[in-house]
Symmetry: C2
Subunit: 222 residues, 2 copies
Amino acid sequence: MTMKLYELAGADASCRFSQHCWRVRLVLHHKGLAWESVPWRFTEKDAIAFAGTQKVPVLVDGDQVVHDSWTIVQYLEDTYPDTPSVFGDRVARAEAAFFRHWTERVVQAGMAPMIIHPIYERLHEKDKSYFRETREKRFGRSLEEVARESEDRLPAFRESLAPLRATVEQQSFVAGETPMIPDYLLYAAFLWVRHGSGMELLEEGDPVAAWRQRMDEATRGA
Amino acid sequence: MTMKLYELAGADASCRFSQHCWRVRLVLHHKGLAWESVPWRFTEKDAIAFAGTQKVPVLVDGDQVVHDSWTIVQYLEDTYPDTPSVFGDRVARAEAAFFRHWTERVVQAGMAPMIIHPIYERLHEKDKSYFRETREKRFGRSLEEVARESEDRLPAFRESLAPLRATVEQQSFVAGETPMIPDYLLYAAFLWVRHGSGMELLEEGDPVAAWRQRMDEATRGA
């Protein structure tokens, strides 16, 4: 039975911007596993209640139901040992925890205020008030106020990518010659920006943009 | 013939604070290799001219002379394949590049202004004017001015450690159950603070402090 992945969608059901869903999708692609997508929207809590969560991604693999993107990635790695590993070895897997936290606490945290309003505009009508309410509570101010400060945030965001920039100036991918989980985690965050906002947060000529393009090529069809 | 490591020293020849020298020392310890230390001071350029560099660490291993801490680490890994690896595997080795850049551009860059004046005070008299001149040029103001802004920098520095903190809250070391190169790179930066300034930059109860203590224990005798 083909795996099912519940993924966050915008008003346009083909608009996929959730970076956490992208993480899973990129790993499924890396492993060459067959799966089908189930579009889901923020307010459709009932549709995933069976998984014991209120958030996607949710993966249904036969009688296994797994939620939380990081748990799903590890589930796929452990359940399909004959597919290409996304971790490499024991050490690289442990270190991946750091990349996850760096992605979330630095990269994603830097992107979020800049793309939050464009994402809002792409949501299905029925999701908008839910999204506004939960996100304004998180930011402590209106989405429009957050958007207005956006431009001021760009230099600090670009500067925060310095360690990634220095790495991919010297090698093709964070994991070396081919992408592995650190690349996927970071790339998923950039796909969130692309599919959620269409914004370009990088300067022309930034080595991070060149790495992102290599990721585009390496994951074509994901 | 025992390897010789030229290491930066303070006024007290036993005062070792260079984090780049600590990197090498920690890796030598990890590998169980025998070596001896040659104390060196900033202005003793002539003593290391044979290595084609003006900076330590310089490693002399038989007829091999290697400089630059990152180059030395890779030299030791490749030259002594029968000793315990500090990288793990191909992927973890590639990813180590990121840890190096994160350590240098975030952790070390955050620490430097706070400890620069205490380090100055520990230097040998003959090094002081060299150090003041080169560092004031780098910071664009006097060491005393840099020191005065120090306290203001502490909250942002602590916040910048968030990805490390989240990682070592969940596992003993960045590399998992035992320390490997990412831990050594980061720990070397903390040893720089300890031996160069005696300052405590972490709050009591910070999981990063608990990790540092585990590193103290894991590297005892380094």
